[in-house]
């Protein structure tokens, strides 16, 4: 009776019960009063008792007392299988590959058709699959093992599917898994674990992970750290790690391992040139190393310069030169080499050479020996002719076309005034030079409407505010005339009134590309006036610095200022892994490329890979998943729109990848999980029982059971009998 609970069925509940009880009590007291005159004490007692019992019986009938109890039933629970689909399942374990052992086990389980489990594969993702053909279709190829993520997913799903037990089949190669992080409460199914290969640990030496700053600098030491480990018999062997670069063994060291067989080695490298530098770390494979794939891993460094190297050559000192040099010198990211012509041939210094602080213009050193070391070359009001520089101009052109950058800033010695017409410099400039000529007078440069988003001139958060900011800056003075703007070049700033041949506005700032390099033509020498003016409301020291900072960064291809960018979700992948590519594409005017088809392909090309085509959304964003190339190496994924390349990103493919890097099983974590949920753990597949033995029952609510013990005919008859007896006796004994 402990499980039973009573309830009142009378309308109105306990309130009505109280009212009715008091009324019947009053009735009984009234009856007692009515038999007060009965002289026979026995008769009086009998009438009082019978009347009271009868009234009580009526009261209990009226209350409709009900007893209620909840009942449960044991039912056969659903069974789930969570199967590791990562590449590490292809490794040896026991007598063959771990995946073979899994297929055999599943085949045996499938012979017993009493259990029809729900099956999930887990690896890079967790997804359902079909039980009936699992033994044949199982082909582990995922590039990750994330047990926690998979368990969380399945347990969440399991709550809807009434899972009574869950069998996890894995090699347990997920060093990051901790049972307690699942935060399991009551009511979870029993979790069993089959640790494939757990009965036969691998003999393996491995490079578990690599750590290096992805950006390195020429000549500046960069450190590559490798976490290594040894397991099985190889834990007692010497673990040598080699560093290879450009097919040369550069360094070698022996790792010091702790008791768990883990250690870290570090190599210091000094990249010799800019670009991408691929370094391989290699553990020479022992003959009994069961996973030689994880002995060879690579790291890719993007080598730049610690600071941008800028060469500023000025035809003579003036305020434009002074303000630009001051800005570049203050910029900690720029290594500035400046050279100003302080004295021309016609100047009369009135002093012998040893009383002058002048040095010869080292044209040969600058423009032959070290030109390639500069990221950007700036000619500021500089005319080449007096310095025998004709032979260097083609070198500067070639330097730009190979990927350098060049700016010409105006003045009476620049552009056509500097006799650059018809030279190699005109070939790379974004403008065509006509006859010499300058424009005088002040004006406020206007931003081209279509290019107001270009980072060099985007001084405001949107085109409207950008144009407003430009209108508020102090005016410029004077400009070099040019004949025309070259096709493909972009006019970012233009004169508000003056026009050039053909009726176009006189360009003040034009940018463009020359070969693989970038160029800019600034036809005024007055940008310093944005920095130095009296009017508090218009002087724009911040704008001046922002403008030139963006100019230098755009010219030198700062990734943050590129209109189109794509990236991969990881730096390195195993062969055949999923490569998720995402990015945002904008056109040359920095407007989102909306709803365009983007082709993605690898470079170097992969034989069996087809181009993937995705469409951008309203903001020009894209996302796609590609299959990593099957051959290890450094690759780039290239995005093209209408056959024109717009962005690229580099990544590595390794034989091992992270998936095969650290193969230490974690049976103790799975054991803890099993203990917590009432499951069992099996090391290896030999002793695993039939699936029906691991399938569970579960207890579920079967509904409510109720009884109304007083609502039976006997009790009603008894009540009527009592009331009838009372009435008969009252009549017989002279009462009404």
């Amino acid at each position: 009776m402990a499980d039973w609970q009573w309830q009142l069925g009378i309308l109105g509940g306990s309130t009505t019960a109280w009212v009715l009880g008091l009324a019947l009590l009053a009735l009984w007291l009234f009856e007692l009063r009515s038999i007060r005159g009965e002289s026979d004490r026995r008769r009086r007692s009998a009438l009082a008792a019978l009347g009271g019992i009868g009234i009580l019986a009526v009261y209990l009938l009226a209350l409709q007392v009900t007893l209620v109890r909840e009942t449960f039933e044991e039912v056969a629970g659903g069974t789930g299988i969570l199967l590791d689909n990562s590449r590490s399942m292809t490794l040896p374990g026991g007598s063959g590959a771990r995946s073979d052992a899994v297929r055999t086990l599943i085949g045996e389980w499938q012979e017993d058709d009493r259990v029809n489990p729900v099956v999930y594969l887990f690896g890079s993702s967790t997804r359902g699959t079909i039980w009936s053909d699992l033994a044949e279709s199982y082909d582990p190829s995922d590039d990750e093992t994330k047990i926690r993520r998979a368990l969380s997913y399945v347990l969440e799903k399991g709550a809807e599917q009434n899972l009574g037990s869950l069998v996890v089949i894995t090699d347990g190669a997920d060093a990051s898994f901790r049972a307690e992080t699942l935060g399991l409460g009551s009511g979870v199914p029993a979790i069993h674990a089959v640790v494939v290969g757990g009965d036969d640990p691998l003999d393996d030496q491995a490079i578990v992970s690599l750590h290096a700053d992805p950006t390195a600098y020429v000549g500046v030491p960069a450190v590559i750290r490798a976490d290594v480990r040894a397991v099985g018999d190889l834990q007692r062997s010497e673990l040598r790690v080699q560093l290879w670069h450009e097919n040369h063994l550069e360094q070698e060291t022996v790792a010091v391992l702790d008791k768990a067989g883990r250690g870290t080695v570090a190599f210091e490298v000094a990249p010799r040139r800019t670009g991408r530098a691929l370094y391989r770390l290699l553990i020479p494979a022992a003959s009994n190393d069961e996973v030689p794939q994880n002995n060879d891993r690579a790291v890719l460094l993007r080598v730049g310069r610690e600071r941008l190297r800028a060469l500023l050559v000025a035809g003579r000192p003036d305020w434009d030169v002074r303000f630009l040099r001051d800005f570049l010198k203050r910029d900690g990211s720029v290594d500035l080499v400046s050279f100003f012509i302080l004295r021309a041939a016609a100047d009369l210094t009135a002093a012998p050479t040893n009383e002058l602080a002048l040095i010869p213009f080292p044209t040969d050193e600058l423009f032959r020996e070290h030109l390639g070391s500069f990221d950007v070359v700036i000619f500021q009001n500089f005319d080449y002719a007096p310095y025998e520089m004709q032979t260097y101009l083609p070198r500067i052109r070639d330097y730009v076309q190979r990927g350098g950058s060049f700016v010409m800033i105006g003045g009476d010695r620049s552009f056509a005034e500097g006799r650059y017409g018809g030279t190699a410099i005109e070939e790379i400039l974004p403008v065509k030079l006509g006859a010499p000529g300058v424009l005088k007078g002040s004006y406020r440069a206007e931003v081209s409407k279509e290019l107001a988003r270009h980072p060099i001139v985007a001084l405001g958060p949107d085109p409207t505010l950008t144009r407003r900011t430009w209108r508020a800056l102090p005016p410029l003075h004077g400009a070099n005339m040019v004949r025309s703007v070259k096709p493909e070049a972009q006019v970012l700033l233009q004169h508000p009134r003056a026009r050039i041949h053909g009726g176009a506005r006189l360009p003040i700032l034009v940018v463009g590309e020359a070969g693989r390099g970038r160029v800019a033509a600034m036809t005024t020498d007055a940008s310093w006036r944005w920095r130095f003016a009296a009017d508090d409301t218009t002087v724009g020291s911040d704008e001046y610095e922002l403008f030139w900072d963006r100019m230098i960064r755009w010219l030198t291809r700062d990734p943050l200022l590129e209109p189109a960018r794509i990236s991969t979700d990881r730096d390195r992948y195993g062969v055949g892994a999923d490569v998720t590519v995402s990015g945002r594409l904008r056109d040359e005017g920095y407007r989102p490329m909306k709803k365009v088809s983007v082709e993605l392909h690898y470079q170097p090309a992969v034989d069996d890979a087809r181009d993937t085509v995705v469409r951008t959304d309203q903001d020009g964003r894209l996302q796609a998943t590609l299959r990593a190339p099957g051959e290890p190496g450094a690759y780039e994924v290239v995005a093209s729109v209408e056959g024109k390349e717009v962005a690229r990103e580099v990544f590595l493919v390794e034989e091992s990848g992270d998936e095969l890097a650290d193969l230490e099983a974690i049976p103790e974590q799975l054991q803890a999980l099993a203990e917590q949920t009432g499951g069992r753990v099996f090391l290896g597949t030999d002793d695993v029982p039939p699936l029906s033995e691991l399938a569970a029952t579960s207890r579920r609510a079967a509904g409510l059971v109720s009884k109304e013990p007083l609502s039976n005919p006997w009790f009603i008859f008894l009540t009527i009998l009592l009331l009838g007896a009372t009435w008969v006796l009252r009549r017989r004994w002279g009462r009404r």
């Binding site: 080499v337 041939a345 009383e355 040095i359 007078g441 003075h477 002087v539």
Partner: protein, 261 residues
């Protein structure tokens, strides 16, 4: 950088020889004026503070002329004037302030203009024409202290770039020999205000017939030449700041300093 700009004496001599070819005066006169107009040209503006001193503007003109004659800089030969409390102050980042008498405290507007001018990149050359008098000196120090209370005037080291921005100089001189140092206020990483108590302008002044206006003591004409060179160096410093501190120049300058001893 030493490797980049390694010394090649044959090249050095060749280039310097080319530079030294003169025909100067004819070419100089015919040289182009600032092509884009005066608004962006180098201008040595004379500053009017209190009672303007006779010849301040002519000194600025003479200094501009000397700079143009001796270097590649092409200053305006007829520079204008400016006031601290007026927008004209910002017509050029170089202001020449010459004085001889004590002047009353500057207005708040003038002090604010002075601060703003220096903050935005301006350079001021203050020249005490009395070369040792007290009135102008006292007033200048008082007003500079008001404008820049945290940036006191300090002697400029003989190793400073100012002494090798064009000519190699050992010490400052003007119409008088004066103190062995210039004083200056350093703003950020540059000297923004230079104060000379050598009457630099006195050594530069000429009369209407082109003769020197004042005698230079005690060194005579060689001292006058050194004063002119100091003026040229100051203009070049304002235009190039620490350019001559760049490593590219170091080996040459050290060698010449050595040979001069």
């Amino acid at each position: 950088m030493r490797a980049v700009f390694g010394v090649r004496w044959s090249r050095l001599l060749l280039v310097l020889a080319c530079f030294s070819v003169s025909l100067v005066s004819l070419v100089f006169v015919a040289r182009r004026a600032a092509a884009f107009g005066d608004a962006t040209a180098v201008e040595i503006v004379s500053l009017d503070v209190g009672r303007s001193i006779e010849g301040s503007r002519s000194v600025a003109e003479r200094l501009a002329w000397e700079v143009r004659k001796r270097s590649s800089v092409e200053p305006i030969l007829e520079p204008g004037r400016a006031r601290l409390d007026h927008a004209s102050l910002f017509r050029s980042p170089f202001v020449y302030w010459r004085g001889s008498d004590e002047f009353p405290p500057l207005s708040e507007q003038a002090i604010e203009g002075l601060r703003k001018y220096i903050h935005r990149g301006g350079f001021i050359l203050i020249d005490d024409a009395t070369a040792g008098g007290e009135g102008f000196d006292r007033a200048v120090r008082r007003e500079l202290l008001r404008a820049f209370p945290a940036l006191p005037l300090k002697p400029i080291s003989a190793e400073h770039t100012i002494y090798r921005s064009f000519y190699l100089l050992r010490k400052p001189v003007g119409r008088v020999e004066g103190p062995a140092f210039l004083e200056g206020i350093t703003y950020g990483d540059r000297i923004a205000i230079v104060y000379s108590r050598h009457d630099l302008g006195g050594a530069l002044q000429r009369d209407k017939l082109g003769a020197w206006s004042q005698a230079v003591v005690p060194g005579g004409e060689p001292q006058r030449e050194r004063a002119i060179r100091l003026g040229v160096n100051l203009v070049l410093y304002a235009l190039c700041t620490d350019y001559k501190d760049d490593q590219v120049h170091a080996p040459f300058i050290m060698r010449r300093r050595g040979s001069g001893r």
